[in-house]
Symmetry: C2
Subunit: 335 residues, 2 copies
């Protein structure tokens, strides 16, 4: 039985049920009684209540991610598990893929396993259509939900995000200032974070009237690790006559394919092509020249997420949203 | 209560308890009664019993791996989760790190969450000291345990392994046949699989009397993704006067650092240095030239592991150990 069922049976809004559960004084005695009656009748015991009584806590945190074979998500999971363990918590991970149905099922699975909270790793869990985010609010009616690099304004949901918009805006400005005007934007995700990165690039380019053609925005549709296919995509653009002396990628893997593309076509880096990647992953050192990339401070984000979570579980009031700045780490692919 | 407790309380061997639980006819009536008495007295209900009665199955499989940020393990988890989901099973993952204590705790955590089976991903779960593998046998007394690329001969444990020994032996022979005699072996793990790879290299070299110096075996101790540190390690060997015209790495990341090392020192690949990696990961296409690597057929292994698991859960007799051959995929780093 969820907060939604109580709301329906008591004939009051979810916000009202939430206020009663949180002991807020801003509820009439009559309404409070109606809600508590339903709760008593159906024996609803939210995990938070049980925890308050020292019951039922397994010291276990659930983690959801779309795909553990994605380098960035895998690293996030790694940091979160390490930090949970050093604080005496176990963790249980479900990989959901990218469909809403699997996300709902996996979230329910974890909650049924009596976890104390669920961490959603990666911004792809947040949908543009508000209705689709209801599965998160439903879960938050039972346990606190932590979002790593996604944001949702809802009760019992805490968001820790990297300021991808500003990071990408500043990186684009710096490439323009270095003398490159025709900068291709290469991306493969339209997630919450993906949209913010794109908006940062777009603003920097439009402020200077440099976004001359929609062709400068190139979306790659294939597998997130198929570097040969990405490289071929760029070569096709070259054959089609698209000209660019800068490339900013929403992910290091995409940027790596740009280094390959330049190598195969004899384009000099950075004199003829400047390249910036994103995530500052282990890949930045695997190539020649080494890749300039935006460090979005994943470990700091994870550390802060765990501190916030421990505060929430401890009954303290914690910030609902925290934003960290990224940083451009310069290496051989930029001037 | 585990099979070990029953064995102790009934005063019979574990094998006898196992035979009684499996309904074997090879047990005397008196012994069978003793065991069943203990089970009844302590209300022991192994998951397998409950499942046989259609009770208690959550259609959920536990997965353990040491570190989800390791490319190879992450890919294994990915395949296993995908294949479980397409068969109607959920999965729960715990990352254990590399200490025995955390492994035991995580395995117990999953079993307490009522999973139907646990898959151990990666050969590092198997210890050389038999006593240390008892945690796996304990767990196997409750649910079937599946080992991906590790092997242990114990009741209710199923092993699916890649023939790393033969793969490495054949790759080494092929490099020798191409005219390279001084081949450095670069590795960073002494796991079950790591030892077999090393033995394959060693046999190929010793058969031809080419293992002239212990210096040809180089163990790298740092982080599994710190390519600059690996590269520096190789450069130090070069400064120390160690000469080698071939390098075989136990992992693609190590091989990538060899490509970097050669690039920085102006050593031509493959004419002055041949390189072979292991795992045939996404990294093989990220470098110039592209990396020759051993494909250990991870997806095939995972597919077979899931088929075996489903058979076991279905009550069918399945092979206790299955071995797959790897394959050398030739690219630009070998002649």
């Amino acid at each position: 039985m969820t907060i939604y069922d109580i709301s329906e049976k008591a004939g009051v809004s979810i916000a009202t049920v939430s206020r009663v559960l949180n002991g807020s004084s801003n509820v009439s005695e009559k309404t409070r009684k109606k809600v508590l009656d339903v709760i008593n009748r159906y024996e609803y015991t939210p995990n938070a209540f049980a925890r308050g009584l020292g019951l039922n806590t397994m010291k276990t945190i659930g983690i959801l991610c779309a795909d553990s074979s994605d380098l960035y998500l895998a690293k996030g999971i790694y940091y979160i598990e390490q930090k949970l363990r050093s604080n005496g918590y176990d963790s249980l991970l479900c990989c959901t893929g990218y469909t809403l149905e699997n996300r709902i099922n996996s979230l329910n699975l974890l909650i049924n396993k009596k976890v104390d909270s669920v961490v959603l790793v990666g911004s792809n869990f947040i949908y543009e259509n508000e209705e689709n985010n209801r599965y998160i609010c439903n879960a938050a009616a039972q346990v606190p939900i932590m979002l790593l690099n996604g944001a949702l304004d809802a009760p019992n949901v805490y968001s820790i995000v990297s300021d991808d918009f500003t990071s990408m805006y500043e990186a684009t400005c710096q490439m323009i200032d270095s003398g490159v005007n025709d900068i291709l934007y290469y991306y493969n995700s339209a997630s919450y974070s993906g949209k913010r990165k794109l908006a940062g690039y777009r603003l920097a380019m439009e402020e200077r009237d440099l976004l001359k053609s929609p062709e400068l925005l190139q979306f790659y549709r294939g597998s997130h690790e198929d570097i040969p296919a990405m490289t071929e995509h760029l070569k096709q653009l070259h054959r089609d006559g698209l000209s660019f002396h800068g490339l900013i990628a929403a992910d290091d893997t995409l940027a790596l394919s740009a280094i390959k593309y330049a190598g195969e076509l004899g384009i000099a880096i950075p004199s003829e092509l400047s390249i910036i990647g994103y995530n500052n992953s282990m890949l930045v050192n695997s190539c020649v020249p080494e890749l300039t990339s935006i460090d979005n401070k994943l470990e700091t984000l994870c550390q802060h997420l765990i501190s916030t979570l421990l505060g929430v579980l401890d009954g303290r009031e914690m910030p609902k949203k925290t934003i960290f700045s990224g940083e451009l780490v310069r290496r051989g692919t930029t001037r």
